[in-house]
């Protein structure tokens, strides 16, 4: 919401010499965030110009450029060279003869942008034809300002080239813009901002002059008939609880609105349009009360405020035909059939507009209108909000009604508008005054005076609290118990009306007193238990992988349905059961990932496309595993804690989201260099990475072959489990077909492991085992086994057979070739033995070795070579 300083100053006393920045800072101090400052930062010459001729050429970049000659009166080149201004312009939204805004060399535009004559696109440009954003009156940069379009044809009738555009557009005056939070609807008015500024100055007596305090005539029976008929109030709240209608007859709607009003409307960031529209907008900006002006002669009968009937249609002022919803509140004209018309029996019943949101085209005030009806009503915020959202229609009116408009001011607003219409368009105000007022004053709240101090942590004296409440406009009644007062909030503060407004009042006291008076006290919790085991586990996993050379990345979990096929997942694979978004950002990726790898592949591909050849990545994150169709999460009441049954239902409806780590790598695992050639990454690097993680957590894992787990290579996929068989994950090389479908390099390797499983498995205190200080004895064996016997099985057999003195088994050579039987391979192992209590003898060691070999022979058919 904006407010020019000159306008604010009408309603409140600005501090002596206060500039825009000062006023904005004062408003910040009472909780109105500064959004922007407009105006006051342009120094001339900024003048009106008329385009006399231009030559358009298309530049090499395809952009059209116009070399213009502009009449800027007795300025610029006319003074120095006796000819019109030559200006280069990149916009094309104007014609020869248009009145434009020209900034001449020597001027400074907002942001300290100094204008000089300079060569551009091959010719001298002596200044610039301005767009709205360049002079700070809007954000439009689509083209330059064409004055008749900005101000209206009739308003530029007297404007001529050379006129000072700073004065014309009110750019010399500063306008502050504040961000208004949803609880302060009243600040969508200069009245509201002036009140807040007054608070920021300590609310001095007489320092705020309420523009809504104007004398209004008594309502009578001779006004335009209005019927409030809401058969279906939302949550029991009537859609309209106040409707003021005033009529002005004989007005010249084509008369221009006064320049001062146009200027203010432009300063507020809106466009002057016509007298009737400008007046209603002006009053809305001044008081915060949205108004609507109707051409009275288009109305056939009483105005009826009612809900829409299903199937009803309305063409709104933005020329969009809208199908109405039975929850939409409407302003209708009952037509000459009178107001009885349910179902349109009069035949001429007309929908005039969506109440509080936007009017319809049929009753719009036009240049030929002579009799105007002004509507100043008060609508239910919820009803307006829903209609606005339903039709995706946000208007100045809906913005205000949604946040709450002061129900006490419709009569004053209508009176102010009527007077302005007559003053500038002639005619006279009808004596008939309609004011259907069903509003009631809010109930008083019993406020404990110590409560604000208790909430804020500042010791506010009783008198200070009372003073602030009164300054806010609340009615304060002292009670017999001096610890309490009865507070009735002012009519413009609907946010202070709720079941327990004490915190709201505390906020009011704190902000008027100054939020920065609140001290800073570090809270001191007592029983911190540190990170949980799961939280620590995740750090260990991530640090272990980063330490092993993998780089952590984060990916978006949105995936395409085709991905399951690219990953070659079988039809019944659980990873095909994905959750679908109702409103995905991209229709191509509506699913949530069921594995980390499914989105990690995108990141790998992106790195490769940027020229990275050797990439090793990991990501830890949640995956979404619904297991079946989504249930329905309940929406219990928020008035109290849900029942245990409701909570159980709530939690159960949320799909499982296990935490996984995905690892993926391609290219060289070890770089080439002066030491020799590098080493390509291979399946074993992935198994090693998983083992590194498991070792960091001291979780023993078992590696076995898994010939059937997509998207891995059937011959190069390790299945990793805990010793009890619980699946930890898979690691190895990816399937060549999957890699080709995913557009990833051949031989890309990957792993995915379940962090939750590792967390559970590592959640115990590791017990120290004693270790021997006696010497170790080594012995080597070579075993001939069939090629399809996994080395893991051979090693297990050796360990079983060797007994408890075995310290380690190392596979130090694998041979397949001519020197041994076909279909077999030779595995060479070094066994290390060590006893806890003595030095082993050679005979003992040989005995253990023979036992190990015997077990390998029994279990996997190994033959010692």
């Amino acid at each position: 919401m904006r407010a020019p300083l000159t306008w604010l100053a009408e309603y409140t006393d600005l501090a002596a010499g206060a500039r825009g920045v000062d006023v904005a800072a004062s408003l910040v101090s009472v909780g109105l965030e500064e959004e922007d400052l407009h105006g006051g930062d342009i120094t001339g010459p900024l003048v009106v110009g008329r385009v006399l001729e231009f030559e358009e050429t298309i530049q090499k970049n395809g952009k059209p450029i116009r070399y213009c000659v502009v009449d800027v009166g007795q300025n610029g080149q006319m003074v120095t060279e006796g000819r019109h201004q030559e200006i280069v312009c990149g916009a094309t939204n104007f014609e020869v003869g248009d009145l434009v805004v020209v900034v001449l060399p020597g001027a400074t535009l907002p942001g300290g942008f100094h204008i000089t004559a300079r060569k551009t696109y091959g010719r001298m440009s002596n200044g610039m034809i301005c767009a709205e954003d360049e002079i700070g009156i809007g954000h439009d940069h689509a083209g330059i300002i064409v004055l008749p379009r900005l101000l209206g044809e009739e308003h530029v009738a007297d404007v001529k080239p050379g006129d000072d555009a700073i004065a014309l557009l009110g750019l010399g005056e500063e306008t502050i813009e504040a961000n208004v939070t949803p609880d302060r609807g009243y600040c969508f008015s200069v009245r509201g901002l002036a009140r807040e500024y007054w608070h920021s100055q300590g609310s001095p007596a007489g320092g705020f002059r309420d523009p809504a305090l104007i004398e209004t005539p008594q309502p009578n029976e001779s006004g335009h008939p209005v019927v409030l008929r809401d058969e279906a109030p939302l949550d029991g709240v009537p859609g309209c609880d106040r409707f003021v209608a005033r009529v002005v007859r004989g007005v010249d709607a084509a008369a221009p609105s006064p320049a001062w009003m146009q200027k203010r409307i432009a300063q507020m960031g809106m466009r002057p349009i016509s007298l009737a529209v400008d007046v209603t907008n002006y009053v809305m900006l001044a008081l915060g009360q949205p108004l609507h002006a109707y051409d009275l002669d288009t109305l056939g009968g009483p105005i009826v405020v009612r809900r829409a009937r299903s199937g009803e249609k309305l063409t709104t002022l933005d020329d969009v035909e809208r199908t109405l919803d039975p929850e939409d509140l409407l302003i209708t004209d009952a037509g000459d059939g009178g107001e009885g018309g349910e179902g349109g029996e009069g035949g001429s019943e007309t929908v005039l507009g969506l109440a509080g949101v936007m009017g319809g085209a049929s009753s719009e005030v036009s240049a030929t209108t002579t009799n105007v009806l002004i509507e100043a009503a008060h609508f239910d915020p919820t009803s307006v909000a829903r209609t606005s959202r339903r039709h995706r229609l946000v208007s100045e009116a809906s913005k205000r009604f949604e946040r709450g408009v002061d129900p006490a001011i419709p009569a004053a607003a209508a009176e102010m508008a009527a007077r302005l219409l007559v003053e500038h368009g002639g005619g006279q105000i009808d004596p008939g005054v309609t004011d259907l007022d069903h509003t009631s004053r809010p109930h008083a709240f019993r406020l404990e005076l110590a409560e604000p101090s208790r909430i804020v942590g500042v010791d506010y004296p009783r008198e200070r609290v009372l003073q602030v409440l009164r300054d806010l406009g609340a009615e304060v009644r002292e009670t017999e118990d001096e610890r309490y007062v009865e507070v009735t909030p002012p009519s413009w503060r609907p946010d202070l009306v709720n079941d327990s407004p004490a915190p709201d009042y505390a906020e009011e006291i704190a902000r008027i007193d100054g939020y920065n008076n609140i001290p800073s006290i570090t809270p001191t919790p007592t029983e911190g238990r540190g990170l949980t085991h799961g939280q620590k586990t995740r750090r260990v996993v991530a640090d272990a992988l980063a330490g092993a050379g993998f780089t952590e990345v984060l990916s978006y979990p949105f995936v395409a349905p085709e991905l399951a096929d690219q990953l070659m997942l079988p039809a019944d694979d659980d990873r095909r059961r994905a959750v679908r978004l109702a409103n995905p950002l991209s229709e191509e990726r509506p699913l949530l990932r069921t594995s980390v790898l499914s989105s990690l592949v995108d990141v790998l591909r992106r790195n490769i496309s940027r020229g990275q050849k050797d990439v090793a990545l990991f990501e830890m994150g949640l995956v979404f595993r619904p297991g079946g169709p989504l249930g329905r999460a309940p929406l219990p009441s928020v008035a109290h804690r849900p029942s245990e049954a409701e909570l159980e239902q709530l939690y159960a409806a949320v799909p499982a989201q296990p935490r996984r780590v995905g690892i993926i790598a391609t290219g060289l695992a070890e770089q080439a260099g002066w030491w020799g050639s590098g080493r390509l990454v291979e399946w074993s690097d992935m198994v090693a990475a998983v083992e590194a993680v498991a070792a960091a957590l001291v979780v023993p894992v078992v590696v076995s072959a898994d010939a059937d787990h997509a998207p891995w290579h059937p011959g190069r996929c390790a299945r990793i489990t805990l010793t009890d068989g619980t699946l930890v994950g898979h690691a190895g090389e990816l399937h060549p077909k999957a890699l080709s479908a995913l557009d990833l390099p051949p031989r890309t390797v990957a792993a995915e492991i379940d962090v939750d499983v590792l967390t559970t498995a590592s959640d115990r205190a590791v017990q120290a085992a004693p270790f021997s200080t006696f010497p170790a004895a080594l012995t080597d064996i070579a075993l001939l086994v069939r090629s399809d016997v996994p080395a893991g099985d051979v090693e297990s057999a050796l360990r079983r057979g060797a007994g408890e003195s075995l310290e380690s088994v190392t596979l130090f050579d694998v041979y397949e070739g001519d020197r041994i039987e076909a279909g077999h391979r030779s595995l060479a192992y070094r066994l290390t033995f060590r006893a806890a209590d003595r030095t082993l003898t050679t005979d003992e060691v040989n005995g253990f070795r023979d036992a190990a070999v015997a077990e390998a022979a029994r279990a996997v058919g190994a033959v010692q070579r």
Binding site: E33, I455, P642
Partner: protein, 366 residues
Amino acid sequence: MSGPNTNYDPVEVSALDPENVDAAVADALTAIAAAASLDDLKAVRIAHQGERSPLALANREIGALPPSAKAEAGKRVGQARGRVGAALATRQAELEAERDERILVEERVDVTMPVVRRPFGARHPIELVAQRLVDAFVGMGWEVAEGPELEAEWLNFDALNLGPDHPARQMQDTFFLDPVDSGLVLRTHTSPVQIRTMLREDPPIYIVAPGKVYRTDDLDATHTPVFHQIECLAVDKGLTMAHLRGAIDAFVKIMFGEGTRTRVRASYFPFTEPSMETDFVCFACHGDPGPDGCRTCGGSGWIELGGSGMVNRKVLQACGIDPDVYSGFAFGLGIERALMLRHGVQGMHEMVEGDVRFSRQFGMEV
């Protein structure tokens, strides 16, 4: 070796002449000094100390002397052999030292050659910033709470006083699950973790909740559909806005350094009342942007931190906590923004694209 010579012949024992002994010593010392290498010295040793050396010969002749002459000749030859031996030992030590020195020089390598064969890994800085904040709060006695990212609508909205008419519940900001009446959304903030904690635990509650959140924004320089927040919630007896300020001040110091001042102003959020907005003094210009302005804070001298407030009574009620007994506060901020500010990251793209060059800049700790 000959035995005592009973037939003493002065001619045959000329090697024992004092002149001859002195000359042998002089020859030996010259040769020793001239030995340039350990090999040379070995030859010198054989020639002047070996069995056929003049002094060895002289020594053997002693036996031929009459007993009266033996003592003197023995002493003379002994001294001579001692001098030669000492000179040899000294020269040996010198040459060995030279050799050792030379070997160390010869074995020199170029230690400036590149040596890293396996590239280093790195953590993602988003995680590291979260860890930094979490650790500091854990150090102050707070605990870390978490929750799912796919969340029940009730926990994400209703319980936080974001009723059915709240704008965030329209399709504009929130990812809804299909079917839309499933009552499930991708959480739009980490606040449902607050609700889950309050439903699970009795006060006092002091939790910090970092995590991933989702909004239906397209990726651009300042928006991303998936981003990270960190939120703090405290519920205890007697907590006031002063405690809220204290917690926020602690937070700001962890991120931007000791002595970072804050200022606060009133604001509005449905889940808090009173609500507060905090700015902290710009760490780049320290609040004084000067005439040339400041890119970090845009010239205001202050940087907006984020929203906070005292937990709305309705939120406490929905979680079964008596708002007449307990009060609470909550605050939070976007981790991406903190990363951008503290580490000069230019835009969202770098943080979300997963380019390894981005993460690697930060190593394992920020």
